[in-house]
């Protein structure tokens, strides 16, 4: 605890000057700068992720699993540049995902549950990112990079990419369950209980993705109405909810280990935390 | 439903069970000796009865009856929403196909 004070000469608040000046002030003085760093990284990552996967690569919503070799080869050729550029961007920035997992793990550390929860979450999500994101990017890049490849093999790459990406989405549900359990057991009121239950809803829709391994068409295939679209809407609601909740959590954070204070009631504590004075 | 609180759950259960059994009669009314036949009337009635049951479960079993007005209205809204979505998708499907 002793090494953490930001110094006695801290000015009471950010300067009123330019945006850049305020950012610089927070960088030097804000005691929650590490938490805000993780939060902003998460938000930026999801924005880039959305732009890359929807308009740039057209990998989302996923194309049909029942296409013939020729159609698949056409899809790769048609999206050649978008795929290679978009996925290269993902290769460069996918490391940002660890900030989100670290922040979520931190939320569990702040709860009254064992440290094991947070650590499990970090390792689960780091491993899940390999089939759930990186393999998709590698395999689609390989499919796109050589336009002259045998269409049957291109088709194999296509199946590999989308099955790895969508079929293994279910492994993320275990992380959701860990988080749910931590929230429901928590006595420090770090995150609201309803979000704990929302984690269960998210986990239950992730189960629905599993039939993507079985069906080539219909509502349960990898771009089906149920297995992809409903799942995506639920995931979107869930992600939006936790991004906002983590923001509130950082605002409420008092660096103690008791119950997290409420925002309105505890303005004074918040101000003193902002100024970097130890509790 | 001005029954004494003790028998109220039982009455709810009896009504819900009666609706469930009524389904069997409903189906028999259109089926032709075991061959199932399509019927928009049966489908609509089945959905509406399901909504009635859902509202009963909300109000009585889940005790929304005694809940604040917000939750009462919200669950009623949900029953309407579910009904609109189900009937809407059924009739849209019929109109398109």
């Amino acid at each position: 605890m002793s090494t953490t004070a930001a110094g006695p000469a801290t000015p009471p608040g950010p300067p009123a000057g330019s945006r850049l000046g305020r950012v610089a002030w927070h960088w030097r003085n804000n005691p929650k700068r590490e938490l805000w760093f993780a939060w902003y990284t998460t938000v930026i990552f999801y924005n880039i992720f959305f732009i890359v996967f929807f308009p740039v690569t057209h990998a989302q919503p996923p194309p049909h699993p029942y296409w013939s070799d020729a159609q698949v080869a056409y899809w790769f050729n048609h999206n050649h540049d978008g795929l290679l550029i978009g996925l290269a961007i993902i290769f460069a920035i996918a490391g940002m995902t660890v900030a989100q997992n670290a922040l979520i793990a931190y939320s569990m550390r702040r709860m009254s549950v064992s440290r094991a929860f947070g650590y499990s979450y970090i390792v689960m999500y780091s491993l899940s990112a390999v089939p759930g994101l990186l393999l998709l990017c590698v395999v689609l890049s390989v499919g796109a990079m050589r336009p002259g490849r045998d269409p049957a093999q291109v088709h194999w790459l296509y199946d590999f990419a989308f099955l790895s990406y969508i079929g293994t989405m279910g492994i993320f549900l275990l992380g959701s369950l860990i988080w749910m359990l931590a929230i429901l057991l928590d006595k420090n009121r770090v995150l609201p209980k309803w979000f704990g239950y929302l984690n269960l809803c998210n986990a239950l829709t992730e189960v629905v993705v599993a039939p993507a391994w079985i069906f080539h068409q219909g509502v349960l295939d990898w771009n089906g109405l149920i297995s992809w679209w409903v799942n995506m809407v639920v995931f979107g609601v869930y992600t939006g909810a936790f991004i906002m909740l983590l923001r509130t959590m950082i605002q409420r954070e008092d660096f103690g280990d008791g119950p997290l204070p409420d925002l309105r009631k505890d303005d004074r504590a918040k101000a003193s935390a902002l100024a970097g004075t130890p509790r | 439903m001005n029954a004494r609180p003790k028998s109220r759950p039982l009455i709810t259960w009896l009504i819900l069970s009666a609706i469930t059994l009524a389904y069997l009669a409903l189906d028999r009314s259109v089926d032709n000796h075991g061959t199932y036949r399509a019927s928009s009337v049966v489908t609509t009635i089945a959905i509406l009865l399901a909504l009635v049951k859902a509202r009963y479960i909300f109000r009585e079993f889940m005790q929304v009856r005694n809940a604040p007005a917000l939750l009462r209205r919200l669950t009623d809204l949900w029953v309407l929403l579910i009904g609109a979505a189900l009937l809407g998708s059924y009739f849209t499907g019929l109109a398109i196909h």
Binding site: M1, T3, T4, P31, K32, R33, E34, L35, F37, A38, L84, I85, L87, A88, I89, I90, F91, A92, I93, A94, G95, M96, T97, V98, A99, N101, A102, L103, A105, Y106, R109, R110, G118, Y119, I122, V123, Y125, S126, L127, A129, V130, L134, L135, C137, V138, V139, S141, V142, A144, M145, R146, R149, D150, Q153, W156, L157, F255, G256, D257 | -
Partner: protein, 245 residues
């Protein structure tokens, strides 16, 4: 008398790893003259069918598998150093832990494809070409966790206490440079020839030299820290206590 906590033993596994890495790198015939992505299927199949190559490919990739996973103790020592820093939260060490859990897996997947291609070199050359592409693409382009860990170490050092830093400032600057040197490799899929191809200047030579330099420099910095912390007793304080909250 201090208790032996084993950090030094973990640290001195690094030279062994360096030897494994160097021998794997030199042994793999596709690295000493990096294979061009513009090779035809027949040429790639010929590369794997060449009896002089085949055993070298297999042994080098088996070694390479060990290297990737063997690096984890060093990364965990870095996590321990980050935990000693004057941060309010363990967020940055959590980030580094996330990189550690994800990064080495990528090495394993790349090796898997190389070893698959070499296991049955008599396969249809088109298939061998595909495995070869998958291996090179995974090896070259999948740098996100490497970039991530360099930037997180840099950020952690910048946010450390300026008077009693765990790592000196230049280590942070060095990590930023390394991260920048790794970025072009992510874009290697866009070029089948020239300096951006996977045998080109940026994705191959700059990237791999950056990784080698990172391992060497970070080992030296890490070793100095571990010895210094033993000399001044600051290792006795559990890292947990150094972290607020």
């Amino acid at each position: 008398m201090r208790r032996a906590d084993g950090e030094l033993i973990l640290f001195w596994t690094l030279p062994v790893l360096a030897v494994i890495w160097a021998s794997a790198f030199l042994l793999f015939p596709g690295f000493t003259h990096p294979m061009s992505p513009s090779m035809t299927a027949a040429q790639v199949a010929g590369f794997y069918r060449d009896p002089a190559h085949l055993s070298r490919i297999r042994y080098s990739m088996i070694l390479f598998n060990w290297f990737g996973v063997g690096l984890i103790p060093m990364l965990m020592l870095l996590v321990m150093q980050v935990r000693r820093m004057a941060h309010r939260t363990p967020i940055l060490s959590y980030c580094l832990l996330g990189c550690t859990a994800g990064g080495p897996t990528v090495f394993l997947i790349a090796d898997l494809f190389w070893l698959l291609a070499a296991f049955q070199p008599g396969r249809d050359p088109q298939l061998t070409l595909m495995f070869n592409d998958l291996a090179w693409m995974t090896f070259t382009a999948v740098v996100p966790f490497l970039i991530g860990q360099s930037l997180i170490i840099a950020l952690a050092i910048y946010l450390d206490h300026p008077d009693r830093p765990v790592f000196r400032r230049w280590v942070a600057h060095f990590n930023v440079v390394i991260a920048a040197a790794l970025v072009p490799a992510a874009f290697t899929g866009l070029a089948l020839g020239g300096p951006m191809a996977w045998n080109g200047l940026l994705p191959f030579w700059v990237k791999n030299m950056a990784i080698a330099a990172w391992i060497v420099v970070m080992s030296v910095a890490l070793g100095r820290n571990i010895y210094r912390q033993r000399a001044d007793g600051s290792d006795q304080r559990a890292p947990e206590e150094a972290v607020a909250a």
